[in-house]
């Protein structure tokens, strides 16, 4: 088994929190893991991505080969498309549809959604709205993580456990809100998978 995942977003959107949660769950499941992060220049509102590799065998390269990623998980719609050359033919695209507009030539949402919808295997959801409706506007990333979970080949409960572990320090209420956000994303994906 292997899962090669591209995490995508804009500097400051916290894609590494998703990576850390999946990473913790993977380790808890006795899997091997490599995660290449981005630091430095690209963090000031520029595009950022991270390579997360999980496998039940030793992993060689820190970078995912082009055309071989199983999943793109993006917290921003335009950014989800930037990494298509890395995605395999059978790969899934999981993306937030809420745009992060910090450039003047940001494309129209229609054009973006047309590209995303042209993908047979995709899940697109407005994670920000879903999180807001649950009263936890800051948990959009957990909604996205939930939406990606059916494709991770790590059991749903292991991911939920990892979320609990990461947020315990902040108290039961914060744990519950993040689990709610995660479940909402998960349910969305389950009902939109086909």
């Amino acid at each position: 088994m292997k899962r090669d995942i591209i995490l995508a977003g804009v500097g400051g959107q916290g894609i590494l929190s998703i990576a850390a949660t999946i990473g913790m769950a993977a380790l808890g499941s006795g899997l091997h893991l490599k995660q290449a992060e981005v630091h430095g220049m690209s963090q000031r509102g520029g595009d950022v991505s991270s390579n997360l590799r999980i496998a039940d065998h030793e992993i060689a390269s820190d970078l995912i080969p082009f055309g071989q990623a199983d999943l793109i998980i993006s917290v921003e719609p335009m950014e989800s498309l930037r990494y298509l050359p890395l995605l395999s033919d059978s790969g899934w695209l999981i993306t937030n549809t809420k745009p992060y507009i910090n450039i003047s030539n940001y494309p129209s949402m229609d054009a973006l959604m047309k590209e995303i919808d042209s993908f047979e295997k995709h899940i697109a959801l407005n994670a920000d709205d879903i999180a807001k409706d649950l009263g936890t506007a800051r948990s959009a990333n957990m909604v996205i993580l939930g939406a990606a979970t059916p494709f991770l080949e790590i059991p749903h409960d292991k991911i939920a456990d990892a979320i609990r572990q990461i947020f315990t320090r902040k108290g039961a209420e914060v744990v519950k809100l993040n689990i709610d956000a995660f479940e909402a994303g998960y349910q969305f994906a389950i009902s939109h998978m086909n």
């Binding site: 992060e37 690209s42 335009m78 498309l81 298509l84 973006l112």
Partner: protein, 540 residues
Amino acid sequence: MQKLMLLGDEAIAQGAIDAGMSGIYAYPGTPSTEITEFIIHSKEAQIRHIRSGWSANEKTAMESALGMSYAGKRAMVCMKHVGLNVAADAFVNSAITGANGGLIIVSADDPSMHSSQNEQDSRFYGKFAMIPILEPSNQQEAYDMVFYGFDLSEKLGLPVLMRITTRLAHSRSGVQRLASREQNGVKLPKNPRQFILLPANARRQYKSLLQKQDAMEEAGLNSGFNSYFDGPDKSMGIITSGIGYNYLMENYPDRIVPFPIVKIGQYPLPHSMISQIYNDCNELLILEEGAPVIEEMLKGFLNLGKKVKGRLDNTIPRDGELNPNIVAVALGKVDTRGKEIPSVVVNRPPSLCKGCPHIYSYNALNQALDTWSKGRVFSDIGCYTLGALDPFDAINTCVDMGASITMAKGAADAGLLPAVAVIGDSTFTHSGITGLIDCVNDHSSITIMILDNATTAMTGGQTSAAFGKIEDICKGVGVHEDHIIVLNPSPKNHEENMAILKKELEYKGVSVIIPRRECIQTAMRTLKESKKQKVGEPVN
């Protein structure tokens, strides 16, 4: 013990703590910064009283580490590749003095220039100084090599260079720790003249360095970091170093490579292994991250003998970092690639944060310079370099740390008046002060803006050696008090700041303007931490 999930940088830091290091010296620089940050924040390092912190620049860091080694303790110095240029004088001469306590220099290269101005390969420096080089291929090796590196350094009495690259520095993987060991006590060098590089001593020391070359190579044959893996297909042999090895293995999912391989993790190169693979195989493929260092050594000037494929014959692109696909193509395998990026996707370059003080410094400067022709702003390296991009288009140069003041001086000497230098506070204490002394001594007509955001922002907000000292430094080196002016770079002061700048641009002499307001990011972080402390949450 359970494995720790560590960045390559963190693995080196944890290794140094566990291997009995007594002090780490560094100047921040991507992708090396997290080594020192890890030790600064490590409880274990505090308990062990390990000295850690930021130096004014890489040269002062290198020399401090050498001093700790002189005193018999193990020391580490960390920098990004271009930092080794700054530390080069101390670095190269440390090979002549040799080490006493174990001394490791970590230089983190950035092929493909993810956040650097060039992609120089630090192995050239190691070879130039004639000291051992260690090049880990993964996080575990990075950890283990720190133990080995300190031992090797103490055994040979030489500093050891550890060369890493971005993808190892910033990638996380499991690391198994070793039993930790004690630090050294203070113990002076046996030979009291070892560190006195007067010509007579230096000649002796240099001879001793030359004599150690065989022992250095021998060490690499026995350390386990250089290996020969035989393979049945001798039509080609592969020599690979550092993370190049991982990209090779990635192309063989069952991890069985048909060709013989020499895996290099330690230099000088092991002659016996290289001759064996050269003799056994019809041709060689060289897979190394960075410059064609090994390849050039093998090929020689005349390129006589068997075919050696690599970056020099374009089997591998001459620039940029390796990846599994580049290696696949070099191995004659099919390249894989998903769909192309759709044309609706546009670039999203990094930009100054909303409310960043640099924005208002540039707005004022741009307007103050309105009446003069373009092309007279010499800048430097830091967040403020983003002033080169739209909508500011405010600066004309960015070369190396400190070059703003001195290049502006040269241009002013040439008659380009007014000439403006724009430099950050941390860059100013890194390498700006000496240039300012040149300007003062020469009565140069230049306007220097020292953008004081109270931190080293570009690399993540480390303390700045300039903090609270800039005016005193300027006064101390002889800038006239009337021309040391502090501004608050904010929109409401725009007109006033612009007017002051305009006036100073007219002044025929050295003028220093200090726009001063804290970086938004560090200000927010301080606020968050103080809030956490109030509710009694742990601060990390």
